[in-house]
């Protein structure tokens, strides 16, 4: 009998691919085709998530998140961009990304890793004007391919489950995987391609590529489980690189006037925090990182979407070097922008406030320097996003063009859904924090190091720091179920 989980996985992955072919061939109703295919992926992923065992639902949760993002992209895509090639490309990236999330085999993961980059090499699809994005993606794929090849050459099985804890290939493979993370995620010194991709490529597909967070996926899915000893000893180097990236791009963003580049820097800085949290090896840090992953993904997708809508309405020469006063013309977009922007940088009452709280707490426990410097990076990011908001939307009303439409109903509803996610997630964080905590423990159990000064068991609940959610340890214990349930 066919495994139902496998069936849903196949549906979630293959429907977007077939729909991509259909959209490219039919050239009619492409937005409808894309929407239906992405919705099918959302439903299949949701069923998979519902049936996933406790502590092993990271892939399924990410599948739901990414396919929901693709649905959002289909709705928010301006009519000007809504052509068969773009829709087909987005659906192809969706299917490939879901394949990577669902992969339980190294070769499949490698194939998915490469497939997601293919549209960004093709001139007809999403190729950026600059060469650096292609180089970054190529080097990351080469590093992962070499690591996979070395593991295969040593005669190891290709199943990720069987490789857990075995450190296959030793330090060379570990190093190659770290290099793959650095290039794919845009960690210093490979950060420049991300801004180039956002600036000279199509905005929404590039945001989807960045929000796949394949670097963090490789860390959570492969590096930490496969290399527990190397992770314990050498992984702090990656953490410090992530911290350096967060600070570097946060400072870099302070004087950036291109809205697209600025958003790319903020996205990069905030997603480097995810890596620092994953590396913290504490349940709080890892939970914070996983929840932050969700928030950064939704917020940056919303911001890039709004920016593209503004570009379509008011011209592509938007700049943060002067006040454009667009709030007078597009007040709804202004409100969506400020909520997504402040949610990205930890506005109280949004989910990122909880995630950053856990993230800083966890990193402070394992690496005090990282814990001290992360808030500085986040504060600079907050200043940059607020600067971008004030420059784009506030100031004297622009004249010289006729009345432009504010957010259209389809854009309005999907942006509202995103805002509801970050705001309701902040008001009722337990559901998402609990989901993250369970997964965090599943990744952290091999590398967990107790907090140096006070053991976790003797600590007061986190609710003392952040009212609204319970101690992560309690959550983990309460939610832990026997493996056979």
């Amino acid at each position: 009998m066919v495994d139902p989980a496998l069936t849903f996985r196949v549906v979630a992955i293959s429907v977007p691919w077939f729909a991509a072919i259909l959209a490219a061939a039919s050239r009619r109703q492409v937005r409808g085709i894309g929407f239906v295919a992405a919705s099918a992926s959302v439903l299949s992923s949701a069923v998979l998530l519902h049936g996933a065992p406790a502590g092993r639902s990271l892939g399924e949760a990410l599948m739901v998140l990414f396919s929901s993002l693709a649905v959002g992209a289909m709705l928010v895509l301006p009519r000007r961009d809504c052509n068969p090639r773009t829709i087909a490309g987005i659906l192809f990236v969706l299917g490939s990304t879901l394949l990577a999330y669902a992969a339980e085999n190294l070769l499949v993961l490698l194939a998915a890793w490469i497939l997601t980059t293919v549209p960004f090499f093709l001139t007809q699809l999403f190729r950026a004007g600059s060469w650096r994005p292609r180089l970054g993606l190529l080097l990351s794929s080469v590093a992962l391919a070499l690591a996979t090849g070395l593991i295969a050459a040593e005669g190891h099985a290709m199943s990720i489950g069987r490789l857990t804890g075995q450190s296959p290939g030793g330090m060379v493979v570990f190093g190659l995987l770290v290099v793959a993370v650095i290039f794919r995620k845009g960690i210093c010194p490979a950060q420049a391609w991300v801004a180039d991709a956002a600036d000279s490529g199509p905005a929404i597909p590039t945001a989807l590529l960045l929000n796949g967070h394949f670097g963090a996926l490789l860390v959570a899915k492969l590096i930490v489980p496969l290399f527990p000893h190397a992770t314990r000893d050498l992984f702090p180097v990656l953490s410090y690189l992530a911290l350096a990236t967060a600070l570097y791009v946060a400072i870099r963003a302070l004087t950036e006037n291109s809205p697209r580049r600025l958003l790319a820097f903020l996205s990069l800085s905030q997603s480097a925090c995810i890596l620092a949290g994953l590396e913290s090896r504490t349940p709080e840090g890892m939970t914070g990182a996983l929840v932050h992953w969700f928030v950064v993904t939704v917020s940056t997708m919303g911001l890039f979407g709004i920016l593209r809508l503004l570009e379509v309405r008011f011209g592509e020469n938007l700049t943060a070097s002067r006040h454009l006063g667009l709030a007078e013309h597009a007040p709804r977009l202004a409100v969506f922008f400020v909520i997504f922007g402040l949610a990205l940088v930890g506005l109280p009452g949004t989910l990122s406030f909880c995630s950053q709280d856990l993230l800083i707490h966890g990193t402070l426990a394992s690496h005090p320097l990282t814990g001290l410097l992360l808030p500085i990076a986040i504060a600079m990011n907050a200043v940059s996003i607020f600067r971008l908001f004030t420059r784009l939307f506030l100031g004297k009303r622009r004249t010289g063009f006729t009345v432009m439409a504010d957010a259209l109903p389809r854009e309005r509803w999907i942006l509202t859904a995103g805002v509801l996610f970050v705001v309701l997630g902040g008001l009722f964080p337990n559901a998402i924090v609990t989901l993250g905590a369970v997964d965090a423990e599943s990744v952290a159990h091999v590398t967990y190091v107790p907090v140096r000064s006070v053991p976790l068991a003797g600590r007061q609940p986190l609710a003392n720091v952040r009212p609204g959610y319970r101690d992560v340890g309690q959550v983990i214990r309460a939610r832990r179920r026997p493996p056979n349930t």
Partner: protein, 301 residues
């Protein structure tokens, strides 16, 4: 922490309320930057307390901290309190915040925001009391701010800014009281001052109107008030102080020169590093946009 930050963001959005003008918007951004910088102290302080003592809650007694830990936690919280209460060296944001509507200025800079720092210090006063260094620093900041506020306030040309500096002086005195451990005097001072100052802010516009009416009614001969202590100083000192007060103690200049400018320089260096050896479409786009703007300007003239 959540309440603290919500006060910050709401007050910043209110400063930028008159969005059609550039100045309130830019001042809102400046205030936001100062708030975020000082909020780092609160965040790290709270997390450090939780890290060291296992709790950051004051409900069941204060976290037990060692000497050094207490000093570090106190200094971090003092950074947050000084930023939010516009104490020296963060005072530069206060006159900028007066760009907002008067009712919001009354609520935030007569009562809530300006006293939030003092309230934080009152809540953590037992931790402050453990650290003579932190207590001394609180007193020093309070004294300097009180003197600064009273001198600069005398050279302010508008009613709201004068009232803001008067608030600053009083909050400086409250800081001194907290540093000296006079907790209940500080509480009474905060409550009384918040009430009076809010009413003063709210009354200011109509009072100015009344003043102008009276001024006209008596033929424009209302004598200026408040010139008392300045005459005790030699004239050169008076002039120097006047220039110093007009530039608001050079605090913004110092902050610009030693914090913001180096950070921006670093950012430009990073930008050059990032763009080394590649085309810079962004710069070209900027040039196009600027050229279009200048053409539009010429056309208008």
């Amino acid at each position: 922490v959540a309440g603290w930050e919500i006060v910050g963001i709401t007050s910043v959005l209110l400063i930028a309320f008159f969005q059609q003008r550039t100045a309130p918007v830019e001042n809102g951004l400046r205030v936001f930057a100062v708030y975020r910088a000082s909020d780092i102290g609160l965040l790290v302080g709270v997390f450090a307390m939780h890290h060291w003592a296992g709790t950051a809650s004051f409900a069941g007694g204060f976290p037990m901290l060692t000497g050094t830990q207490g000093v570090i936690a106190s200094l971090l919280l003092l950074l947050a309190a000084a930023g939010k209460a516009a104490q020296v060296p963060f005072s530069g944001w206060l006159p900028r915040a007066m760009e907002g509507p008067t009712p919001s200025s009354a609520i935030f800079y007569g009562a809530i925001s300006i006293h939030a720092g003092a309230y934080l210090l009152l809540r953590v006063q037992p931790i402050l009391a453990q650290s003579p260094l932190a207590s001394a620093l609180v007193i020093l900041i309070g004294v300097i701010t009180a003197i600064y506020g009273t001198i600069v306030g005398r050279a302010s040309a508008d009613a709201k800014t004068s009232l803001a500096y008067a608030s600053l002086t009083q909050v400086g005195v409250v800081f001194v009281e907290i540093g000296l451990g006079w907790k209940w005097i500080a509480v009474a001072h905060v409550l009384g001052h918040a009430t009076v100052r809010t009413l003063q802010f709210l009354r200011a516009p109509s009072m100015l109107h009344d003043y102008h009416v009276m001024h006209s009614a008596i033929g424009g001969d209302l004598s200026p008030a408040g010139k008392h202590f300045e005459d005790l100083l030699p004239e050169p000192v008076q002039l120097w102080l006047y220039r110093w007060a007009l530039d608001r103690g050079h605090l913004d200049t110092i902050l610009d020169r030693f914090v913001i400018h180096p950070l921006m320089q670093l950012s430009h260096i990073f930008a050059r590093l990032d763009n080394f050896g590649v085309d810079q479409p962004v710069i070209q786009r900027e040039k196009v946009a600027l050229s279009m703007q200048s053409h539009a300007g010429r056309g208008g003239n």
